[in-house]
């Protein structure tokens, strides 16, 4: 069976999972104590006003009716109206999601680019000084919360050294006219990189540490494999053995960890965005919860769930592409 059919089937299989996510999110959001209307109108609103608002947002209907309305809304891309912003939830998400994705992708790019060479060197020089250093760095990395790293980065590189800005983010697609210190597109991109650097490291350190650890142990395993001994016995140069024979086999668990890391990084992004005052999904979800904006809570939670599911599917597909032993699930 072709990879394409496998891909399509994996996505089809995800549909029940997505419906499950919508259902759980909906009922959880509706169980949150407190009344959004009360927050909107203050402690002593007029009764007619309350009822008008309830009717406007559909809150006066029974919960099962609202559930099916919401479900069919999600299917057609309508996530309802944000009570706090008074704008469609989808619009808010489409505004903020690219910011978070930009942060996450740059964090992962940083993590992968540093972790893979570090892990390989560590495995190759096992129990030598380089290995000890890399293991200590990655141990610290996995055991330090990303928001704390963010705060330390701000204190050192923004406050004391003044090398990087401490807050905010310039979007690469922003109009140069709106960006301070940038006259052209190149200038905007430079500003983006400048602003992105600290949050990228803050969010990426955990991923970097995790990937390094897996890369190391996986490479240690594959460097001891019989196929590596065979290659050595046939005069294959050691550099080729590391780069090709051992490396390719060793990447399979690394891919899994990267895929899983994508979802934990979403959680990390919420904290990192808060620390660096970046207007992304994380800030959106916190605003939604603080204001009992249950439509927005549902919408943002759904997006996180969807990103998770897509991450898992992409991991599976990459895996089947890299490892010839993975079958596509039929004869």
């Amino acid at each position: 069976m072709s990879l394409l059919r496998y891909t399509l089937r994996r996505f089809a299989q995800a549909i029940p999972v997505l419906i499950g996510i919508v259902t759980i999110t909906f009922f959880l959001a509706n169980q949150i104590p407190g009344d959004p209307v009360e927050i909107m109108l203050g402690p002593t609103p007029a009764q007619e006003q309350v009822e008008a608002i309830r009717a406007q947002y559909g809150l006066d209907r029974p919960i099962h009716v609202r559930y099916f309305t919401y479900l069919s809304g999600v299917a057609t891309g309508d996530l309802g109206l944000s009570i706090y912003y008074d704008r469609p939830v989808l619009e808010m998400i489409l505004l903020r999601l690219p910011v978070t994705l930009l942060l996450m992708l740059s964090a992962f790019a940083f993590a992968i680019v540093t972790a893979i060479p570090l892990g390989v060197i560590s495995a190759k020089r096992r129990n030598e000084p380089a290995d000890h250093v890399s293991r200590i760095v990655s141990l610290i990395g996995v055991s330090t919360p990303s928001f704390w790293i963010g705060l330390v980065l701000i204190i050192v590189f923004a406050f004391y050294l003044g090398w990087f800005p401490a807050r905010g983010l310039v979007l690469p697609w922003a109009d140069p006219a709106d960006v301070r210190g940038a006259a052209t597109r190149i200038g905007v991109l430079r500003q983006t990189a400048h602003h992105l650097f600290l949050p990228m490291i803050g969010l990426g350190t955990l991923q970097m540490a995790q990937i390094t650890r897996i890369e190391r142990s996986s490479m240690v395993d594959s460097l001891q494999g019989e196929y590596v001994k065979l290659a050595r016995a046939y005069g294959v140069p050691e550099s080729t053995i590391v780069r090709k024979h051992a490396f390719q086999v060793a990447q399979l668990p690394v891919i899994t960890i990267i895929g899983l890391g994508l979802s934990t990084a979403l959680g990390g992004a919420v904290l990192t965005e808060t620390v660096f005052e970046i207007q992304g999904m994380g800030r959106l979800i916190i605003t939604a919860i603080n204001n009992q904006d249950y439509q927005l809570i549902m919408g943002t939670t759904l997006v996180f769930g969807f990103v998770y599911v897509i991450g898992v599917i992409v991991t599976d597909i990459t895996y089947s592409y890299l490892d010839p032993r993975v079958t596509y699930g039929d004869e």
């Binding site: 494999g225 019989e226 065979l230 050595r232 016995a233 046939y234 005069g235």
Partner: protein
């Protein structure tokens, strides 16, 4: 006899572990002549595989070759000499690591590993792996090497080699994978192939087919083999000469027929008695008593003295080096057992060891001369 192709003299390979020094290979000597299949036989842990990886200088850390000499076609694979201060250092003519890799490994001496399931890389095609080794060791271009690879796959009995060339190892059965490993060794056209228990992981019918095939191919290419095995029936099937290893030492060395019909060492007899033979009828097989001791702390005297049915007190004290048994110039037969006249150190008058080892005072003086063959 002519100059041997490979000559191993007093080879010692040790592993420096936290628990102490493991003397995995402890002073073995043997030759391989052109066109010969030489057996290296012994139980697990006897040091057979360490001996073969020493020949390619591929002993994994913490293991190290600490002494002896390995010569191959006049080149020194391993050899030490004393510098001025009594320290040992590699001889000048010893091949460098780079020379070993480029000139010896694969090109001159190829190896077939024990485990066909693990030895092929799971993420590359069988053909690609074979082709890579051919390219490296025969200086061929990619297309030529591919052609050679398909030819050799056909030769080792892989059906439809053109289409199987692009398949992955997991699509091959164990026997087929072993054929691929044999193809790799043959394809590099080496003078010597080390076969490290290549049929142990296979079932008996496949083993038989593979042995037949190797015999045919050996005749065709006139390649020499070192055949490592613990299976005496494989030895009988394929080897010209045999070295029997016990605990890091070669304790008997003979032409294959001499070894089977004129066995000189009690350990070899024990090995032969522990397996069924078509030429002898026995009521039951006799397994070797106890397990082989650890090479980290080998027993004093003859290392086989404790399980040996013929051991006497002298065996506990004297460590025998292999000596010539037949006195024949052609077809040497050596054994390291003091019961033979070649040693003459009073075995006949020495009291037998009380194998129960409970004080042993009275038993020590009892003569039971009937035990020796």
């Amino acid at each position: 006899m002519s100059e041997p192709l490979l000559s191993v003299r007093d080879l010692k390979t040790q592993f420096f572990t936290e628990d102490g020094t493991v003397r995995a290979v402890d002073g073995i000597s043997f030759d391989v002549h052109e066109g010969e299949i030489v057996g290296l036989v012994g139980e697990s842990g006897a040091g057979k595989s360490v001996a073969t990886s020493s020949i390619l200088r591929l002993v994994d850390s913490p293991g190290e070759i600490v002494g002896g000499e390995i010569k191959f076609k006049g080149e020194t694979i391993f050899g030490l000499e004393e510098d001025g201060g009594g320290e040992l250092r590699p001889r000048d003519e010893m091949l460098t690591e780079e020379e070993m890799r480029k000139r010896i490994r694969g090109r001159e001496i190829a190896i077939i590993f024990q485990d066909p399931m693990e030895s092929l890389n799971p993420v590359f095609t069988v053909g690609g792996q074979l082709r890579e080794f051919i390219e490296i060791n025969r200086d061929l271009g990619t297309d030529e090497a591919k052609g050679e690879a398909i030819d050799i796959l056909r030769e080792v009995g892989i059906p439809a080699p053109e289409s199987r060339y692009d398949e992955y190892p997991h699509q091959f059965s164990g026997g087929m994978r072993q054929r691929v490993l044999i193809a790799m060794a043959l394809a590099c056209q080496p003078d010597l192939i080390i076969a490290d228990e290549p049929t142990t992981a296979l079932d008996v019918t496949v083993e038989g087919e593979i042995l037949e095939m190797v015999k045919d191919l050996q005749e065709k290419y006139d390649t020499s083999f070192i055949w490592v095995t613990h299976d005496m029936s494989v030895v009988a099937e394929i080897c010209d000469r045999v070295n029997v290893m016990y605990l890091g030492e070669i304790i008997e060395q003979a032409e294959v027929d001499d070894l089977f019909y004129d066995t000189k060492h009690p350990y070899t007899s024990a090995l032969l008695d522990s397996m069924p033979r078509p030429d002898e009828t026995v009521d039951e097989l006799r397994p070797i008593k106890g397990v082989m001791p650890e090479a980290i702390d080998p027993p004093s005297g003859c290392r086989f003295h404790s399980p040996c049915p013929e051991a006497r007190e002298v065996c506990r004290e004297v460590h025998p080096e292999p000596r010539e048994m037949s006195g024949d110039a052609e077809g040497t037969h050596t054994a390291a057992c003091v019961k033979h006249d070649a040693f003459d150190i009073g075995y006949d008058t020495s009291p037998p060891i009380d194998t129960e080892a409970t004080g042993g005072f009275s038993a020590g003086f009892t003569e039971t001369g009937g035990e020796a063959e």
